[in-house]
Symmetry: C2
Subunit: 269 residues, 2 copies
DNA sequence: AAACAACGGTTCGTTATATGAACCACCAAC
DNA sequence: GTTGGTGGTTCATATAACGAACCGTTGTTT
């Protein structure tokens, strides 16, 4: 593994829930040598990617990332293009909505929007999304580049009893997503959550990411599913438009079938 | 130079004005070998820091920087703490306002806010700020850690005829900043701009950054200076409060003198 | 259409650079 | 004063970074 990659990987250990990390602690987390880790941290600090809390000596993300994010968003305004649709989605469903972006073979969390309706709700710690266990991931496998499925099949980490851990289980979920235009993760990532997701496309015509709703499994009803489904499709259309893409015809067709079926099961809301 | 540092440095060549860069182009800019640069780009791409435009093969910043920025801002909400004061500052002065953050020995642009009042106005390409040639930089030298001045004196790059290029010239500007509580860059960075800046402090009690106004030199009048001065101080106080700091007494005293002197020169606005 | 130049990407022998066990100095708890 | 935890440093070793030269493609020029 290249030294640059190792240094960059250190950044991925910072998160909202763990925003400051000490040297020794980071060595444990990353399972790396202290001297090496220290040198990497120095490189990162020099470049402004991290800085040291003067009081605690712990490291935290630095100001350089703010600049880069601003340049990125000015170049490819993904977040801006998703914001409105996400808040509307969270508002209409009363659940937590979020969007993801595919880059290379990794699905990254873009932003999250919680609804205040329920005290118990899913919170998304924005991170990379496992392709096989999340609704957004299944969307990526179903509608993204084909080689993604091979990559995902290599690492079928088990998160819950429902996580698909063999290729057959995974492909059946992906096929279902293709057929319905919707990715579904029923307790496959976290024990209590039910995720539904719809694909989003960009100006290259390719799959660019997904928009998703994470709901608490215990309050999931056919009625709620019907609402989420309808709103998800609206959001996916809006974000796709903002990202300069168009929904492929076969996806629109799959959605139409899904909605029809959903309405049939729970008629006249 | 470490490989990690070299890879990270590549990211700094992306900017709002040059958001996408091809391999060969980047090699020229960074004055690096093509094979090496390519490998570095691959590392960066793997980590999600850059991605390739599928059509043009050019590289641009990737989604990972968005996540990191979100974590950084959740950890240390610098931007949020500066936003309101900056818009108010731009609004009150009719000029472009911006804020900078010191991390290590580098002064980073945080955010910029333009006023629509004039068609001709300064635009800040958020980047690292040269300590010797910008108003914010002079603030950092005047109120930041002492070793900063030694570092800055090592690299006195000339930008204009007014750029201080010897230690004496620089120290006199820094001394002036200390005496007035205000950093001044009169055509020392760009030929047409006049920058005024005030220091901002954080909860450690240290200098944390600066807030600044970049004005067009040709429309600069004592009257405008008086306005900028007053508003700058208000903004610096507000941002300092939001960042959890307090303005040191000697800085407040210097400001009081500056305002008094400025009022005396242009009485009864 | 042939020649050219510029592009992104790859190869391979050389050599510089990353590595990590062992090492400080420091601090807090007991 | 011992113990266990920090953040930070050293130096011989070995690994991975390096770059000249290479390939295949593309789009422009003659």
């Amino acid at each position: 593994m290249s030294s640059a990659k190792k240094a960059l990987e250190l950044l991925s250990y910072f998160s909202i829930s763990r925003p400051e990390i000490g040297l020794s602690q980071l060595c444990r987390i990353a399972k790396r040598d202290k001297a090496t880790t220290y040198r990497h941290l120095q490189s990162l600090e020099n470049a402004g990617f991290i800085e040291q809390n003067a009081l605690t000596k712990q490291y935290r993300l630095g100001p350089a990332v703010m600049q880069l994010a601003q340049i990125r968003e000015a170049t490819v305004p993904r977040k801006e293009g998703a914001r409105h649709a996400l808040t509307a989605l969270a508002d209409a469903t009363g659940e937590t909505a979020h969007a993801t972006v595919l880059s290379g073979q990794t699905l990254y969390g873009l932003c999250e929007c919680e609804s205040p309706r329920h005290a118990i709700r899913a919170v998304i710690d924005l991170n990379t999304f496992p392709l096989h266990a999340t609704a957004s991931g299944l969307c990526a496998l179903a509608f993204g580049p084909e080689d993604l499925l091979c990559v995902a099949a290599q690492d079928l980490e088990r998160f819950t009893a429902n996580t698909p851990t063999d290729t057959d289980g995974l492909t059946s979920l992906v096929d279902a997503a293709r057929a319905t235009g919707i990715g579904r993760a029923y307790k496959s990532y976290a024990e209590e959550t039910y995720g539904l997701s719809a694909p989003v496309f960009d100006q290259t015509g390719q799959f660019a990411g997904a928009v998703a709703v994470a709901s608490v499994a215990t309050r999931f009803t056919p009625k709620l599913e019907q609402t989420i489904l309808a709103e998800l499709i609206i959001a996916a259309r809006e974000i796709t438009r903002n990202w300069g893409g168009v929904i492929p015809a076969h996806v629109e067709a799959a959605w139409a079938l899904s909605v029809k079926k959903s309405n049939a099961m729970e008629p006249a809301s």
